[in-house]
């Protein structure tokens, strides 16, 4: 039993098979249809036992790289991270508990960023610390206005 793990067999093929089964021709399309879902939630929808969140992210990175839309992916990931830790948006009161929620969201955002964009994310994080967004800010997708000013597209 439970010897199944997400990396068994050809997981890339499995991942795309599941995406197609759900009527999408790319992982990006599947994920963008669920802009606030966490990576774990996306993975669970694709396969509760045999798909992991990192695999979904790997796939998203590969697709974004091919379509040259990595910056957009980074913004999408910001939305997912923030929504997971702070579903009501940027905290009104920055107490210790909320400070940790922000820290956790931005910490994961930072580590779940392709190498090419690490520097820009570091700068964006510094900008957020210097000028915090308005309380209640809750980006719901990669096209959020404030998010776009933090991380504008450069590609294409």
């Amino acid at each position: 039993m439970s010897d199944r793990h997400p990396f068994q067999g050809n997981w890339v093929a499995r991942l795309y098979e599941r995406v197609r089964e759900r009527g999408y021709d790319s992982l990006t399309a599947f994920a963008e249809a669920r802009p606030t879902a966490s990576l774990v939630a996306l993975a669970e929808e694709l396969g509760p036992d045999d798909v992991a969140g990192v695999q979904v992210f790997k796939g998203l990175v590969a697709e974004a790289e091919r379509s040259r839309r990595v910056t957009r992916l980074v913004r999408s990931q910001f939305v997912r991270e923030l929504y997971q830790c702070l579903p009501d948006g940027w905290p009104t009161v920055m107490d210790d508990a909320n400070r940790f929620k922000v820290a956790k969201a931005l910490g994961f955002w930072s580590s779940f960023t392709p190498e090419t964009h690490e520097e820009r994310v570091t700068q964006a994080r510094a900008a957020l610390r210097a000028t915090p967004p308005p309380p209640g800010w809750r980006p719901l997708g990669p096209d959020d206005e404030l998010l776009l000013t933090l991380l504008p597209d450069e590609e294409v």
Partner: protein, 500 residues
């Protein structure tokens, strides 16, 4: 307890409850505990040991109250509802409550044993006299209390840490870390209870003027040699050793109770000359009142043959042997939850039940199926064990630190020391899974984001600290680690590091 006719049944039940309340001392909560988690009926107003000779113990009148209390608290424990319709939160909470209750049981019994050992140590007319010949054996008992207390404290700390993390999976994982500690303390306190019984018997005999010391001295030495390896194994914290000790414990306790039986008879005939046999008979009652060995001991009255050949069954009041309750239904329920959650292991709990059941069951290898199932045995639990041992010829899956060893110091500064050392937080992974996590194997997709575990986790933690503008607490680190494990599909089941 020949309770076949309905008229006698009530008396039988009362007696059974009264007996239970005394006999299951090592598994039951201490007197006067101020908590509503008191789901077992045991609560001796005064320890039988503390009573003087001749004060007959009559616990029967308390029966109905106990019964009442038991029902009341049963609701509290089951309030979360049966398994299956629970939320992850509810089930983690219930496991946690069961764990706390089990902890209280063990702590109550070790506290009782501690008091009794200090009393014996001062018993200058009894066992502490005789030129101090037997004092080392009392001290041996007191030494065992030290590791029992340490295990207990560690289990308590881990249970406490479990309440502080938010994620129910991480809560369960922390309880599982604490499980072996509780198991060792539970079995160790049973064994120590037996040891204290032996000391107590001698104490009583000496006070009655028994004077042939040589044989007793030799006997004591032999018994200690029997007890010592088991105690050492239980204290070792090595899961394999603890499990082996657990499996052997019913037999060992059976042997000890046989020896105690023979010694009691010898003491009786020794004292018969001084016409003190009646007193001794009463004292035997007192000796065995809270003993783990009670039911396997002779009553020095005609023994009740009723229980002979009667198998154990799971009834509504608990595990029954004839009309006798071996362990209460509440205890069974609590253990079932902990076994199903993978916190305690079935072999250890089975051993405890068999010891409670007395000599006849000690000789048998396994509990009846119904009882095993009530204690949580089932295909999934057995499966858990098999995969734990990486069973049937498969090589044991290697263990990996979830918090990278290279950064041990970083984690130590954030409270990962002692029971929460990063060595306690390892996971077993299949080779392919492990390679993938560390950026190898068939991990080729999306080369712009290597996603290598160690680098990812340290970057997340460090950048979170930059954002927080302070050091993360231990629980915050665990929170982040737990989330990362979910993203990587790593099962939330920790095993200690072994070797390198």
């Amino acid at each position: 307890m020949r309770a076949e006719s309905p008229g006698v049944r009530w008396t039988g039940l009362l007696l059974a409850l009264a007996l239970l309340s005394n006999a299951c001392a090592p598994l039951m909560p201490p007197p006067g505990r101020g908590t509503h988690l008191r789901y077992t009926p045991h609560e001796a107003a005064t320890p039988a040991w503390a009573q003087g000779p001749g004060e007959a113990s009559t616990p029967e009148p308390e029966g109905p109250q106990r019964l009442h209390r038991r029902q009341g608290t049963r609701e509290a424990v089951t309030a979360v509802g049966p398994r299956g319709e629970e939320t992850p939160w509810g089930s983690a909470l219930a496991a946690h409550l069961a764990f706390r209750a089990a902890l209280l049981d063990v702590s109550g019994s070790t506290r009782g044993l501690s008091g009794e050992l200090s009393r014996l140590r001062k018993s200058h007319w009894g066992i502490a006299g005789k030129a101090g010949l037997f004092v080392p054996h009392i001290e041996y008992g007191q030494d065992q209390l030290r590791w029992l207390d340490a295990e207990f404290a560690a289990a308590t700390r881990l249970a406490h840490a479990a309440t502080e993390v938010e994620d129910p999976d991480m809560q369960r994982a922390l309880l599982r870390l604490a499980g072996p500690r509780l198991e060792a303390a539970l079995l160790g306190s049973l064994l120590l209870a037996a040891w204290v019984d032996v000391l107590h018997l001698l104490d009583v005999a000496f006070k009655q003027g028994y004077n042939s010391l040589e044989t007793l001295f030799v006997d004591m030495d032999r018994w200690r040699q029997m007890v010592e390896p088991a105690m050492t194994a239980l204290a070792s914290r090595e899961p394999g050793q603890v499990e082996a000790a657990a499996e052997n414990m019913p037999a060992l306790m059976g042997y000890l109770s046989g020896e105690l039986n023979r010694t009691a008879q010898r003491l009786e005939s020794g004292l018969r000359n001084v016409e003190k046999v009646k007193v001794l008979a009463q004292l035997m009652e007192l000796v065995t009142m809270r003993s783990a060995l009670k039911f396997s001991l002779p009553t020095l009255r005609p023994p009740a043959p009723v229980t002979l050949g009667v198998g154990m069954v799971m009834g509504t009041s608990g595990v029954m042997m004839g009309t006798r309750i071996v362990v209460s239904a509440e205890w069974v329920e609590m253990m079932q939850r902990l076994v199903r959650e993978g916190v305690l292991s079935l072999p250890a709990i089975s051993a405890a039940v068999r010891i409670q059941a007395g000599q006849m069951m000690m000789a048998h290898g396994e509990l009846p199926r119904g009882v095993r199932e009530a204690l949580g045995d089932g295909p999934e639990v057995r499966g858990m064990r098999v995969t734990d041992r990486a069973g049937a010829g498969m090589a044991e899956r290697p263990r990996h630190h979830v918090m990278p060893q290279e950064f041990r110091e970083w984690f130590e500064k954030r409270g990962f020391t002692g029971d929460m050392d990063i060595n306690k937080f390892c996971v077993r992974l299949e080779q392919a899974h492990h390679q993938a996590i560390h950026g190898g194997g068939n991990w080729k997709l999306g080369r712009l984001w290597p996603g290598e575990w160690n680098r990812m986790i340290m970057k997340t933690l460090r950048d979170a600290e930059i954002e927080a503008g302070r050091m993360l607490t231990r629980n915050e680190v665990l929170d982040i680690v737990g989330e990362a494990m979910k993203r990587y599909g790593v099962p939330m089941k920790f095993v200690p590091w072994r070797g390198s």
